[in-house]
């Protein structure tokens, strides 16, 4: 679903980043336009999750060089919360459990922070309850989960639904979904994938990070990129995912000639 006049949402240029002095990203280039769905695949340790955290502004990661532009703004100059308010959303691979913090209260505070930035009216407790109940349908989530502490005691599938619910409430410009399919059975995967598809709009973009092709059976990407050793080694269309499923990642070990830039 590409818009007529695609707008550049995210532009990553020659990004190098490290954690605890260990270099992880070693020159990532990627452009994502409005309406596009991109998928990044690769082995464990290839740098996929690091890339998602660096985009979202995790303080443990140091950007050594390169840039990330988000709708023309220098994303790296902003704190994690400022990026989120602008419309960058990270769906966590392992959503964090926060005992004692009510899920409903957390969702309301987060939603209002984003709405305030967008200039839309903030919602009071009652208005928010109506809003969240409507959005729950997208992920077919039991309202009882709103009354519990954030992710506490949720199953793997429930945690992922809670992530997509947050995406539905925050209405981000770009959603980066880190291994959203991991730990899900096929029914839960379909619900989550259907949620993501419903939330994809012509003026937004999605970056899926995944090991396996099965998520891409449910959400068809426009572009697939393969990461290895902190770089995008190859980019292509959805057929690349099918090829990877059949041939695995071994070819990366001896394939020197690759595209360094997505899109």
């Amino acid at each position: 679903m590409k818009s007529q006049d695609p707008k550049l949402i995210l532009e990553i240029s020659d990004l190098h980043a490290s954690v605890d002095d260990q270099p992880i990203l070693q020159g990532v280039n990627l452009k994502i336009y409005a309406g596009e769905i991109h998928a990044i695949m690769g082995r464990n340790g290839s740098g996929k999750s690091t890339l998602s955290k660096v985009i979202a502004g995790h303080p443990a990661y140091t950007v050594n060089s390169g840039s990330i532009q988000f709708e023309g703004q220098d994303l790296l100059a902003l704190e994690a919360e400022e990026r989120a308010r602008l419309g960058v959303f990270l769906g966590f691979q392992y959503p964090i459990e926060i005992p004692g913090v009510s899920n409903l209260e957390f969702l309301r505070v987060a939603t209002n922070t984003r709405r305030k930035k967008c200039g839309t009216e903030e919602l009071d407790t009652f208005e928010f309850e109506d809003f969240v109940k409507e959005r729950l349908k997208i992920v077919q989530m039991d309202p009882a989960f709103l009354e519990r502490s954030v992710n506490e005691g949720f199953s793997g599938g429930e945690k992922k639904r809670n992530e997509i619910l947050q995406m539905a409430l925050l209405e981000p410009t770009i959603a980066i979904l880190d291994e959203t399919d991991s730990g899900l059975d096929i029914d839960a995967l379909r619900i989550v994938a259907s949620g993501v598809s419903q939330l994809t709009k012509p003026n937004t973009a999605t970056l899926l990070i995944t090991h396996y092709q099965r998520l891409l059976n449910e959400i068809t990407p426009d572009f697939v990129h393969v990461m290895a050793a902190g770089k995008i080694k190859r980019s292509g269309g959805k057929e690349l995912a099918i090829e990877l499923e059949q041939s695995g990642y071994d070819w990366l070990d001896n394939d020197e000639v690759n595209l360094g830039e997505g899109n």
Binding site: E79, A80, A84, I96, G100, V101, A110, S149
Partner: protein
């Protein structure tokens, strides 16, 4: 030690039904002296502050309620009965207690008082001795039937005096009680509080203990509970705002087969020293304990937790778990936490753990990645950390604005 002796000698003359107990309490204090750092149970206590505690005397006259009642008091709870322990006021004549509650007779009280010391090890008897020496009142309550009355017990603040209070609660077989205790401190006030609870077979007590001080207030509070088999005792406690506070829940499961839940929270700021010394002794088989002790230590405060669990040979198939989780919020604050498991029985499950950490970076990042700024995120996390205990307090404890203010101001 002259001042200690002077303090004892200056106490009001023994009188009333506690006359003999006052005399023996004073003798015991004189004989044993002040606790010292050589005593394991007092090793970490700020003894200078404990000595200050002993510069205050009990008030001789009863205070007018208007003087005691402060703005911090919550409205009386709905569907619950409020009792205020005022100095020098005899509550035994209460006639408007709700169904299921009646005052204990003097004979019943006496029988309980005779047993008090036998449940407490010698080294830990000092707070009880202080109370015995200074206190001329005891209030006893009997709980029966299946109505599960809700009771709120307030021990108010009064400036520049020592406030001794002692309450005995007997819960009959199959009876239930919800009890919220609120102990309030004021500048240079000191509380010496003893609560003794006797739980008959199959009885249930849901107990909340909220002790919030102010200024240079100090508080010594001991809750001793004797549980008969198949009883269930649950305690959620909150301590905050004392120059020195020492809270001692002491539980004995007499014949096993009982359930004990102990959840505690200390919110230490400034130069407060807040201590919890708990002990649970299983004197029969198949008892259980679930204990979670939390603390946040900010400023130059000091948080202390010592948790004894005793499982003698007779207490086979005991299932106990104790977890102490502490958040150190400042480089000058201090947390001392010590699980102390004394296990003789061989067929038992006893788990314990203690952590002292700073707010988790991953939790903070999760909230920040949703647009919540770092300051608000840490406040939310701290509030959530404390809420886990506060939410379990009984008798609509959230009516007490001080609790909400405490959570609102947490940092």
């Amino acid at each position: 030690m002259a001042s200690y002796g002077q303090w004892i000698n200056a106490l009001p003359s023994p009188k009333g039904m506690l006359k003999d107990i006052q005399k023996s309490g004073r003798e015991s204090l004189l004989k044993n002296g002040l606790p010292t750092r050589k005593m394991e149970a007092w090793r970490l206590t700020n003894l200078k502050r404990l000595e200050k505690f002993l510069t205050l005397q009990p008030s001789v006259e009863g205070e007018k309620e208007a003087n005691l009642r402060s703005q911090v008091w919550a409205k009386a709870p709905e569907n619950a009965f409020r009792l205020v322990l005022k100095p020098n006021e005899i509550l035994q004549n209460l006639i408007d207690l709700p169904s299921g509650l009646r005052p204990l007779t003097n004979k019943e009280i006496k029988a309980c008082l005779d047993d008090s010391f036998k449940y407490i090890p010698h080294e830990e008897q000092w707070p009880l001795s202080v109370n015995c020496a200074a206190n001329n009142e005891v209030f006893g309550l009997h709980v029966s039937g299946n109505t599960c009355p809700q009771l709120e017990l307030i021990i108010p603040a009064e400036e520049n005096v020592l406030i001794p209070s002692r309450v005995i609660i007997k819960i009959e077989e199959d009876a239930q009680l919800d009890l919220l205790q609120v102990v309030l401190g004021a500048t240079h006030s000191a509380h010496s509080h003893i609560l003794e609870i006797y739980m008959a077979k199959n009885s249930t007590l849901n107990h909340g203990f909220v002790a919030i001080g102010g200024g240079k207030a100090s508080c010594l509070a001991q809750v001793s509970v004797v549980q008969e088999s198949f009883s269930s005792y649950s305690l959620n406690s909150v301590q905050h705002g004392w120059s020195i506070s020492r809270f001692e829940p002491k539980i004995i499961q007499k014949n096993g087969h009982s359930k004990t839940t102990l959840n505690g929270l200390q919110i230490a700021k400034g130069d407060e020293q807040l201590a919890t010394h708990s002990s649970v002794r299983f004197e029969g088989p198949e008892g259980s304990l679930n204990q979670l002790q939390k603390a946040t230590a900010n400023g130059e405060s000091h948080s202390i937790f010592n948790g004894i669990i005793e499982v003698p040979q007779i207490a086979q198939k005991t299932n106990a778990s104790q977890l102490s989780r502490n958040l150190l919020l400042s480089s000058k604050a201090r947390v001392d936490t010590k699980p102390e498991l004394k296990i003789i029985a061989d067929d038992v499950k006893c788990a314990h753990g203690a952590t002292i950490s700073q707010p988790q970076e991953e939790e903070l990042f999760y909230l920040r990645s949703r647009g919540i700024n770092a300051k608000q995120a840490s406040k939310l996390l701290l509030k959530g950390y404390c809420q886990e205990i506060i939410d379990n307090l009984p008798v609509q404890a959230n009516r007490w604005k001080i609790l909400n203010t405490l959570l609102g101001n947490i940092s």
